[in-house]
Every structure is written in structure tokens, then in C-alpha cells.
Symmetry: C2
Amino acid sequence: MREAPGTPLTYGGAGVPRGLVAESLRELLAEIRYRAPPKSGRPLPLRGHYAGLLRIGAVTLAVTTDTVGTKTILAEQLGRWEEVGEDLVAINVNDLASVGARPAGLVDTISVAHPDPAVFRALGRGINRGLARARCSLLGGETAVVPELLRSTDLGATAIGFFPPGRRPVTGARIRPGDLLLGIPASGLHANGFTLARRIVAKSGAPLAEPRPGATGSLGEEMLTPTRTYVEASEVAAALPTTTGLAHISGGGVRNLIRLNARVRFTLDAWPEPSGIFRWLAEAGGIGSEEMFQTFNMGIGFVIATRASGAEELRRRWTRAGLRDAQVVGRVERGSGVHLPHLGLSYDRYA
Amino acid sequence: MREAPGTPLTYGGAGVPRGLVAESLRELLAEIRYRAPPKSGRPLPLRGHYAGLLRIGAVTLAVTTDTVGTKTILAEQLGRWEEVGEDLVAINVNDLASVGARPAGLVDTISVAHPDPAVFRALGRGINRGLARARCSLLGGETAVVPELLRSTDLGATAIGFFPPGRRPVTGARIRPGDLLLGIPASGLHANGFTLARRIVAKSGAPLAEPRPGATGSLGEEMLTPTRTYVEASEVAAALPTTTGLAHISGGGVRNLIRLNARVRFTLDAWPEPSGIFRWLAEAGGIGSEEMFQTFNMGIGFVIATRASGAEELRRRWTRAGLRDAQVVGRVERGSGVHLPHLGLSYDRYA
């Protein structure tokens, strides 16, 4: 969903001033003032969040939409499409997971300049794997063959989820000082920051077909690793009343936490040392920590805010569900924004 | 939703053999075999139709997704974006209308090479108008600034609808010989066939800024006219048990009727003379009727199948709702496919 309009470096490098993106969005949203009558369903207010909520009869739906972005350019370079197929599902269901909704259905849009059956087969395999991980049905899709519009392949999807009986949306509004922040590791870069990451690789001259220093698989494969799916982690957490917030660390990096609640401070004083690929990108590109943490997930793909009193039970339930790699990454304090004290970093705004 | 993979001329001209598109889709769908457990909601089978259906608790949802396609290239040439903004909503809610679902929510994806606040403002105005016509809420969206992926602007959306208490999906399965086919006029080309239409205009040398022979507004404006919204027409029709089918005449032209029911023949023996823009395109491009009727809506944007016994009541209700331009365009017979006897045309397959 309408995420942070990128990072200064990313857009700056592409000749797109970040302010122009924000201004464009303001202009768009200022014009969309129509309010539908109650017989058309009732949207629930949740501005700037990961998903839109819609009440129809006794059911509350969550809806989110996102594209894989320029990670498809790497897929094309490597001739591998399963990974981005899986990404397409994962990035959307992880946004549903960020409001505590259970994924139910997905529709995809595959836009290509030229159709290649082998590419579609690989995409299908990846999408299927993503659906299985999220326990989500494919409801349909659209294929657009538009060589005049596209330079490369564009992958988008919309996911629809719902709140099972007895479960309410987890919005972050109840987060308060004293809550703990637990993080679940990312599988890699996921599908964010690729415009910058590809530029760093190109500048460094590092070959995609060989491992970076300290890695085993090739750099290309390492970067292409599909986005981890956090649906199960969210399902377990959202069932506990002590869970107060859920955040997919997607475009915008740790700043995503501000989407949950702007009236508390997220102090990430136990964020683990980022894994090798992030350290390598920072070094190879000469990118500072401030830029790295607001562009990439930096090793943690999903953050859960919980009352300190509920953390033990949450970990117990995750362990029963086979999820053993969650760790404390910080805590909630009085104040606002996101703070990484050991790095001297502070972010005030999501976008 | 995954529509007819275009027309031979269109794709042939662009160097994309139509068979390759169909083969790519087959490969994709063959890989997507995952079936979610019942606790994730229950998809209802409706293969090849306008929308996917999903049952959650007591609510049945309809979901559809579509892009404006290359009509955005015309918008860019003319520097006018309100019309395609309205199209983006209309093409999606019209697909919901084709299963008798009431639109509730929409999410959009606006992908651009460079953000332009004035373009976004105009798009917002058009989207807002489309939402108002469909009585639908905007639930969110995604903005992608991806100059490396895009040559031009790509507009996609997903619409979610539902069936109010007492209403069941209108799938076309109950259509039988003897049913009447009523048609509601299109506002123009809508958002289909633009790759071909733009090629004809370019070949003819006709200036977009001047009217074609016999028209008043400029050719560009005439082509850009937004897609008519058929939500109200469908709402009225879907409430009657005598309504057996609803069809948005979108990509694939009259062949869309085959999506409703492959075991009856749709005989369009009263199809009105297509309006001026269609006649002009056929003449200027030297395009035969077979190609025209399987690419463009040919003046009728929505077709309703009804028991003959229900036609009068349907027209009465439409009139009460202010809808007065529906007309009989044909009837259902034994057989299969779509037949236009006065033109000697037959279509056996949707795609």
C-alpha cells in the first residue's frame, strides 16, 4: 500500500526529487473526497496504515496492494522468476499480517512487454509457493501485454484478508511506553531498496554470478532470495490481547514503525547486527547507516509490539508453531519517532 | 480480470503472436494448484468469468482486477488525465457488475516514470468521479515511481464487491434459449482496443486535435471519453430473479458473452448500427467487421440476458432509476458461441 515515497538517495539518483512524489500523492488524495453510502459497505478509518479496512455485514475485511518494483530487473538479469513470484504474494500478505488480518484471497497483475511461457511457468511456481505459505487462494488476475508501456516486467497484486470471529484489527493505537518490540529475521533484502541495491552492485563491479566476500551462494541469488512470509507469526500474535502492534519492515525500513503509532517512541536498542548482505551493500556503496536503515529491512522483516507481560506467552505459542527465531529488538518509550541509540539515529516521519 | 489475450491484428502488429499469450497463461495457471483450507475463506468456482468469488462467513465477495492499458498513452499525448482516472474505476466496477455484485471498495496502483503533481491531481479527480458513479470507497493504493520499468504511465486497480442479503451471483449459468439480450450503449471506445485504435489514427494521419468527419469534438477527446459505469443498471437487473446474465463488453468485444455460458448461442440479430467512431476506425484502418467486433465494444458496453417474461419489468425498473437507453440487441438460441447473422460473423471462443 502507498508506501514511503522512497529514499533521498534512491530518488535523487534517478532524478526524481522526493518532495515531488509526496506532493503528487497529496494532490491525488486531496481530490478523492467521495464517501459512499452505508449500503456500499463501511470503510474503517486507518490512515497511512498497511491495509484498508472495510466492514461488510458482520465481516471486517482488510485489503492491501503492492508491486514487486525493480527487483524484477534483477530477476530478468538472472533469468530466474520463481523468487519474485513468491515475493509478489509475500509482500502483500505481510501487509495484511501487519493489521492482524488472515489472508484469504489474492489477485495478481502481470504486465510484460512480451509474453514468455517459461517466465510465466516460473512465476506460477513462485506464486503457488507464496500462496501455500500464506494459506491464501488465488481469485484471479490480469495479464497485460503492453510493450509500449513497459521496459521490463511489472508484477502487482492485491490481497484480501479478514478478521476471524473474536479477533479485532491490530492497529498499533494501543501501543504504550513499556511495551516490548520483538523482531523476526528477514530472509534477505526482500523486495525493497532494489533501485539502490542494484546501483551499488553496478558501481562496485561485483559480479552477480559470484559470491560476495564471506558468502557462499552467488550475489545475484542472495539478492533474489524471496521475501519471508510472516502470516503464521501474525496469526499467533494477533490472537493474544497483549499484542499491540504488527509491522512489516518494507519500503521505508524501520520508519515503518511510525505508521503504527506516532505518539510513542520506538527505541531499537537491541537491534541485532545486520547480516552480511547489508554490511556489504553499505561498504560497497559507501552508504551511511541513516540511509541503510530507512531503505532496507536491515535483517529484521517483521516487528511485533507486545505488552511486556504477554511476551513470554507469545514466545511460547510461536515455539509451538515452529517459530523459534524471534528476538527482542527494542522497547517503546515516551516520545515519538524511531530511535537507534547505539547508532545515534532518529527518524521522525515515515515518509 | 485475465481477459482475452487481445486480437490477432493487435498482437500480430506488435510482434506478439497471440498463441504465445495463451500458452503463457496456461503455463502460469497450471502451476497454481494450491488450495487453501476452509478457515482461510472459501473461493467459489467461476472459471474464466469477470470476477473471483470468495465466501467469508456469511458474506460472499467478488473481486476483480484490471488495468487501463495503452489508453494512458493517448492521455499523455493530450495531456488529459481525468478521463483515464475515471476509466480505472469504471473498468473494474463494470466487471463486478457482470456478476451482479455491488461495488464496495477499490485500491489503485499508479505506476509512473516520473511523478507530476498536476497529473496526479487530474487522476484524483477522475478516480473520485468514478467512485461516485459506482458508489464505491477508495480503500488505499500504491504509487510506484519506477523509471527503469516504465516507458509511460500504467494504471491498475482492484475492486471488491459483495452480494447484499438475498441476492445471489448472476453467473450466466441459468441462461437458456428464449432469453432476451438487452444492450446498454457505450459512451465511446471505453478502455479497450487502444493499441489498434492508436495505430489506425497514426496510419491515417488524422490529427487528434481536430474532429473526424461527422463529429463535433476533437478526435482525441472523442477517443478519451471515459468508460460508462453500469453499476446502477446491474443493481436493478441483479435484483430480479428473471435476470440470467450480465456482461461488460470489454477486451474481446462481443466474444465476452461466451464467458457467461458456453452451451447456448448468443444471436445478436438486433445489434444497433455502431456509432460514428467505430465506423470511422473501420474505414480509416481498413479493418473488417470480424476484427472490429472482437476488439471494440461496437457501441454497446453492457449486455443483460433476461427471461423474456422479465424484460418488461426490468425496463420499468430501469426507467424508474433514470436509465432509458437500453434496447434489445439479440436473443439466446440453441447452439454455442456468438453469432451476428446480418454480418455473417460467428465467434466460437472468448479467447
